[in-house]
């Protein structure tokens, strides 16, 4: 197959995970005002303090302007926030005791997506907290985790069962007034995941949540809060797929991580939401605020992300390095194809002494994709001995795509050492030639080279995700080059 044919084939590839599950759902009429916020809170049976917090966020949000959040290098038509329905939940049939009681249709959906809960439970030892639209329907491995004192539950449950923890940490990393999308999320978030790992506990398995956007016209507002207490360790996986849609869907999630002294959090994401068809219809906008605070000495937060979906990705997983000798890491592979736009990167804020951070970002742009790495490395006056290394490489496939790099470097400390390097180039003809000369066809050669390009990031992924990541990359890019 000639390169141009391959590109065409790729361009015409339909979204694999595009199907709609017919489930009765409990959806609130579109629109957003104080009453909506109160309704969400009431439906979730929330305590007074949380409602107050939501209302404060809502009031703040009404004073904010979306234009102020438009600094990113992404273009999208105005979003009508009053046309979005802010709550949707599968109708609860009864209390669920075991996996068998999960709605068979829901389970079938997961099967189609290649996420057989049962199998995962049996084989991979991954506890899956499946978020189906906004309400968690099934939670597994809870008992096993409970033995160790680890809390892993839907956010709404945590609010009921562990209000003291939620109240202490909610909004402590991403305040409700942080930015337009995070503030919106704070007002209307429906559910998400909550993890608490007690002191000295090493979480025995990877915690995993699959998100799905299922109901047409409902924005998804997830809220994730992970707290790793002193000396604990947790690895969290987040993966996303979504059914094909014709109407724009907004996703504005917030993820907060807190690592206390000596704690480590590893947060991995594979994001494969529907990027829109060739005409750019059915987009999903992904505006996510992710931030982790290394509060204690020698704490560590590591973000790894593989971003292949969404029409617009606006996402900057960040680390606030407060504790002395704390470590922040960011490993990212982002792919944009067709008309996808991604503006993603990280912020590393060095506050404590001898803090260090590593940034490895690999961007791949094909078709008409536009991709931007935007990052900040900030060293405060007291962050003596801070160290940062950043590497941002972009790979261009085709002559209609764009790759951009906007790193901000701000240092106020003479002992800090910051290194940033970035390259932009296209897939090397001679390397392709070399592979083909040895009998590897173009498609495999491209997969080989692109995988090699991303190697540094993929090896940071947990085993379970590494497989999915290279599969995704293959699907997205295979044969895109000649």
């Amino acid at each position: 197959m000639s390169p141009s044919q391959e590109i065409e084939k790729l361009a015409e590839r339909e979204y694999e995970h595009g199907f709609v599950t017919a489930i009765e759902s409990d959806t609130v009429a579109p629109g957003l005002d104080e009453a909506t916020v109160r309704l969400i809170s009431e439906k979730k049976g929330e305590p007074e303090w949380l409602l107050d917090w939501r209302l404060r966020a809502y009031r703040r949000w009404t004073e904010m302007r979306e234009e102020d959040a438009r600094w990113a290098k992404v273009a999208f038509p105005p979003i009508d926030y009053q046309a979005i329905s802010y709550y949707s939940a599968p109708k609860p049939k009864k209390q669920l005791e075991s996996m068998d009681e999960v709605d068979p249709e829901v389970r079938a959906t997961f099967e189609k997506l290649g996420i057989p809960l049962q199998e995962q439970k049996m084989l991979s030892g991954v506890a899956v907290d499946a978020v189906f639209d906004s309400v968690s329907v099934a939670t597994t491995f809870r008992e096993k985790l409970a033995e160790k004192g680890i809390l892993f539950c839907p956010f709404s449950e945590a609010v009921k069962d562990h209000p003291e923890l939620v109240r202490k940490y909610l909004g402590s990393v991403v305040p409700y007034s942080d930015n337009f999308f995070a503030t919106l999320n704070s007002a209307v978030f429906t559910d998400g995941s909550f993890v608490y790992v007690p002191p000295g506990v090493r979480c025995p398995m990877e915690l995993s949540t699959y998100f799905r956007i299922n109901e047409a016209n409902t924005g998804q507002f997830e809220r994730t809060l992970i707290v790793a207490d002193e000396g604990s360790y947790v690895s969290y996986l987040e993966g996303c797929t979504a059914p094909m849609r014709d109407e724009n869907q907004l996703h504005a999630a917030v993820v907060e991580l807190v690592a206390l002294e000596g704690a480590q959090i590893k947060y991995s994401t594979v994001q494969n939401w529907y990027p829109g068809d060739k005409q750019g219809k059915g987009w999903i906008y992904n505006f996510v605020t992710k931030r982790g605070a290394c509060r204690g000495r020698r704490s560590k937060i590591s973000w790894t992300q593989v971003e292949t979906g969404s029409a617009i990705t606006w996402k900057y997983p960040s680390c606030i390095l407060q504790g002395e000798e704390s470590v922040g890491e960011f490993y990212s592979v982002a792919v944009t194809n067709n008309r996808q736009q991604a503006d993603t990167g990280t912020k590393m804020v060095h506050i404590g002494k001898n803090t260090s951070s590593t940034i490895v970002s690999k961007g791949i742009s094909a078709g008409h994709g536009q991709q931007t790495y935007r990052g900040l490395v900030e060293v405060n006056r007291k962050a003596t001995g801070a160290r940062n290394f950043s590497q941002c490489d972009s790979l261009l496939i085709g002559d209609r795509c764009g790759a951009h790099t906007f790193p901000y470097i701000e240092s106020r400390n003479a002992s800090a050492k910051i290194e940033h390097e970035a390259t932009t180039s296209r897939l090397a003809d001679d390397q392709l030639f070399y592979c083909r000369q040895r009998g590897i066809d173009t498609e495999d050669a491209v997969a080989l080279l692109v995988n090699g390009f991303c190697k540094e990031v993929f090896r940071e992924l947990p085993m379970e995700f590494a497989v999915e990541a290279s599969k995704l990359l293959e699907v997205t890019l295979e044969g895109a080059v000649g």
């Binding site: 261009l396 002559d399 951009h404 790099t405 790193p407 470097i409 240092s411 940033h420 390097e421 932009t424």
Partner: protein
């Protein structure tokens, strides 16, 4: 508009006698644009770290027509360059202009050249330094007095460098030097610009330089900013290179209370090359800010950018380097580095290297580092008997020298190296 902006705009006078009508229109347009935009402020992304608030406290006056000058200062600067075709400008107005016709050079006041239709300045002036893009450029367009126009004839190879000394007079004056250079096809020349002032100067210097390179032209361009410690220097350079042209600009910024330099380089013809080097040294409460944009508008163009900053005391450095590769501008090579050295805990750096690539057959890279002197290197020198102060000075000098070395003219290079040595915290000891 702020009080300072109003004071600046008040200096506007209808066109001087003898100026062509088109120039008067341009001045009016510049004034209108400046009044609409005002002075840049920190809400603008490009000015986030560089506040002009301190300008407000100055009661800026337009520079007098014939301010007294310290001839010793001009002589000292001339001596640094050695034999050259040297022109002296005070507050942007010509004071002395030598004749260079014999060497294929025509240097004259810009306001006079504007009346010469053969030079076509009507179409050229402001074509590169767009007043719509930058309000300070609009202000310059409205208010520049005198100015300079340099024409280098096709295939001319002047033996001596062309040296322009832009002197800022004492007092809180606002001057707007304007310089238009056209390097003819196949010419080879070296142009040096010195921006200097005596200790009594505490005003605003707002220069704009436009450089056009015709096919195959090669120009070495050196800019030295050595203003007194109270001067605000807010300058711009806009250059455009046609096919196979080569521009090599090296900037050394040492002085001023606040120094800002905006560079716009356009590689408009195939095979064009741009080399942009810069060294800046900031201490006390100095802020030195460099913003560069290199636009690869044609295929097979090359740019090489290398900036270094040394920050001591409460010195604050800002660097913003943007490389833009347009769609269809294939086979581009662009390399950018920015390295900075922080010598004190109060010093501060904000760097933002930036790549915007819209073509695929490119090799673009940028690198930025922020750091201090290498401990091992210091140890090595101290083990050989150097004091810590000397070892630090030696390594810092070595860091700076890499840029000085790119200055093509030996006397100037040596003079600037001496300046760097003297600047160093332990320079006198070394």
């Amino acid at each position: 508009m702020s009080a300072a902006a109003e004071a600046l705009a008040r200096a506007f006078a209808p066109a001087a006698e003898g100026e062509p009508a088109w120039l008067a229109e341009r001045r009016l347009e510049g004034l209108r644009l400046f009044e609409a935009a005002g002075l840049p402020h920190t809400k603008l992304e490009d000015w986030r770290f560089t506040s002009l608030d301190a300008l407000e406290s100055l009661e800026l006056e337009p520079a007098p027509e014939a301010a007294p000058v310290d001839s010793g200062l001009a002589d000292a600067v001339r001596a640094e360059v050695g034999p050259a075709l040297c022109a002296l400008f005070v507050d942007g107005r010509e004071r002395e202009i030598p004749a260079g016709e014999a060497e294929g050079i025509s240097l004259e006041p810009l306001t006079r050249a504007a009346g010469n239709d053969a030079l076509g300045l009507q179409g050229r002036l402001g074509a590169l330094a767009d007043p719509k893009r930058r309000s300070l450029t609009a202000l310059n367009a409205a208010l520049f007095a005198g100015g300079a126009s340099l024409e280098i004839a096709a295939d001319a190879r002047p033996e001596r460098p062309i040296h322009l000394v832009w002197l800022q007079s004492d007092g809180a004056h606002a001057a707007h030097p304007r310089f238009a250079i056209r390097a003819g096809a196949g010419s080879r020349a070296c142009v040096i610009e010195h921006y200097v002032s005596g200790p009594g100067a505490r005003g605003l210097c707002n220069p704009v330089t436009e450089i056009e390179l015709e096919p195959g032209a090669r120009l070495d361009h050196v800019v030295v900013q050595d203003q007194s410690g109270d001067v605000f220097q807010l300058g711009a350079l806009a250059a455009r290179g046609e096919r196979d042209s080569e521009l090599r600009t090296t900037s050394v910024a040492l002085g001023g209370r606040l120094g800002r330099w905006d560079v716009y380089g356009t590689l408009a013809g195939e095979g064009a090359r741009l080399e942009l080097n810069g060294l800046y040294l900031a201490r006390a409460r100095q802020l030195l800010d460099h913003h560069t944009t290199i636009d690869h508008a044609a295929p097979r163009t090359t740019s090489e950018e290398s900036f270094k900053g040394i920050l001591d005391g409460r010195g604050h450095g800002v660097f913003h380097g943007r490389i833009h590769v347009r769609p269809d501008a294939q086979q581009i090579e662009a390399a950018q580095t920015h390295r900075s050295l922080l010598l004190s805990d109060q010093a501060r750096i904000n760097a933002k290297p930036q790549l915007e690539i819209y073509a695929d057959d490119v090799r673009c890279s940028h690198g930025a580092t922020v750091g201090q002197l290498d401990v091992d290197q210091l140890f090595y020198l101290r083990a050989r008997g150097l004091t810590l102060a000397r070892a630090r000075a030696l390594l810092t000098f070595g860091f700076a020298r890499e840029i000085c070395e790119r200055i093509p003219l030996a006397p100037l290079r040596e003079a600037l190296e001496r300046r760097v040595l003297n600047w160093l915290p332990a320079g006198d000891d070394a």
